[in-house]
Amino acid sequence: MTALVEVKGLDKVFGGVHAVEDVNFSVEAGKVYSVIGPNGAGKTTLLNLITGLYTPTKGEIRLGDESTARLTSNQLAERGMCRTFQHMQVCMNMTAIENVMLGLHLRFNSGLLATLFRLPSMRRNEALARERAAQLMDYVGCGDYLASEASAMSYGALKRLELARALAVDPKVILLDEPAAGLNATETAALEELIRKIAEQGVTVILVEHDMKLVMGISDQLLVLNYGRVLAEGTPEQISQNPDVIAAYLGG
């Protein structure tokens, strides 16, 4: 039992809104851990805290042996954490493949001099990055867009592109904020398959999702948030039978 991600007494207050309040949980390495709860429950805020976009008002976050609550998102990426967004964050001023290559930034960077003179070392790096990015686009199922501008892609394809970019970081832990939102049933089934494959490769997945069929089918462990507080935690079976959860969420 090794906890890869651990959250203790986490609080985030925005003005008068207590978006996340005294949240505790830990995620074991290699598991799919899902966070559910009604809109406004604080799920996105929780992910933003874990990934370094927000600083907690109070509480502790650990990644492996390290306390990470004060780290920035790029420092967390260096430590093997990456994510996708509920409101997509794709660079529309780039091509599709360049977005994925951006995800390879930490692995295939070149210095300023090598760049200015386009030295062979830089060109080799660039070719490797392009090849790896193309593989990843195939892997997530947007291989048809290898030559496209990002702005020319459909909503569903963009969501997969974002996933490819996150995988490009070669993360130990990946956080997905409502990846199935706006997808149809076929696309959701393909996404479920993909998340399963990612988890099988040993990547820890923290998933925020409204699609109960997807969540219940794929998760090892679930956390239910309500008004920023933990309502329940357990396996999918435990959660689906929890009377509090049924009253507050599943039933309504």
Binding site: Q89, T115, N125
Partner: protein, 340 residues
Amino acid sequence: MLNQIMQSRLRGVMLLGLILIFLPAFFANPFHYELAIQVGIVAATVVGLNLLVGFAGQISLGHAGFFGLGAYFSGIATGTYGWSSIPALVAGAIAVGVVAWIVGRPILRLKGHYLSMATLAVGFIIAIILENERALTGGPDGMSVPPLEVFGWQLSTFGRYSLFGLEISGVQAWYMVAGVLLVIATWFALNIIESPIGRALRSLKGSEVAAGVVGVNTTKYKSLVFVVSAVYASIMGGIYAHFQGFITPDLASFDFSIVLITMVVIGGMGSTFGVILGAVVIELLPQALADFQELEMAMFGLILMVTMIFMPKGLLPTLNSVVPNITRKKAAEVRHDSTG
């Protein structure tokens, strides 16, 4: 794919080189050369500024300040202290780069209007310093600068030189210098854009949040592009000082900063060849409309507004997308005619 990009980048630079080689065929007198040299120097500056504004999505309303600093560094180092030109240009670039890095760190945290105001203030402060340090700069009256010294030649616009047995005039020699510098400036800019560094810069504009979560140190890259664009301005400012032979603090003025930004905007933010075209248009316009000189700034404001409203992508990208449309429409009409 990679090959294709390589080739298109090469093709662009080669086309620029060819245009620069054949352009003098249209020059009737030395004044045309001088105009072209001036356009080239300013265009190279704008190519650098475009990295910051067009590609990284940041703003600088004080960039003339760095141009002015570079000009005065070269002027003072060569004129007052007797350095030769190239070491002065290099030292000036380093000094201005350091200044940009120091002022950039705090202000680049700001966004939008706040960043505009802060960079505007930087430009003002530099202009004021240049005006008030009379002992060094000669104050508002300006100072004279010795000719550019390259490979032992003293390059003055009034001189006469022989190159590989060919007799060339001073303005022709200067035209070559400006042309080569513009090609190099463009080549470097294109190399930066199509690289991991360039993607990191463009991601600052596309989505700073996304850049951060994939590991781009956004603070570092903002500083980097600010410094790079300031170094472009510094070097071209130094070159300009040698070319004009006389400089005043106006080089660092707010007006000139606005001229530079106008070139980026009308040229099409994020298009390197577009902003060169922008520099050409904005530099030549006052020549064409010499009677309206007092209204120059008002005109630039108007051009800026009209461009932003009707061609938000700028001159070249708009032309690019309109021209194929027209040809396609024509083709469709032809097909229609032949079937109808």
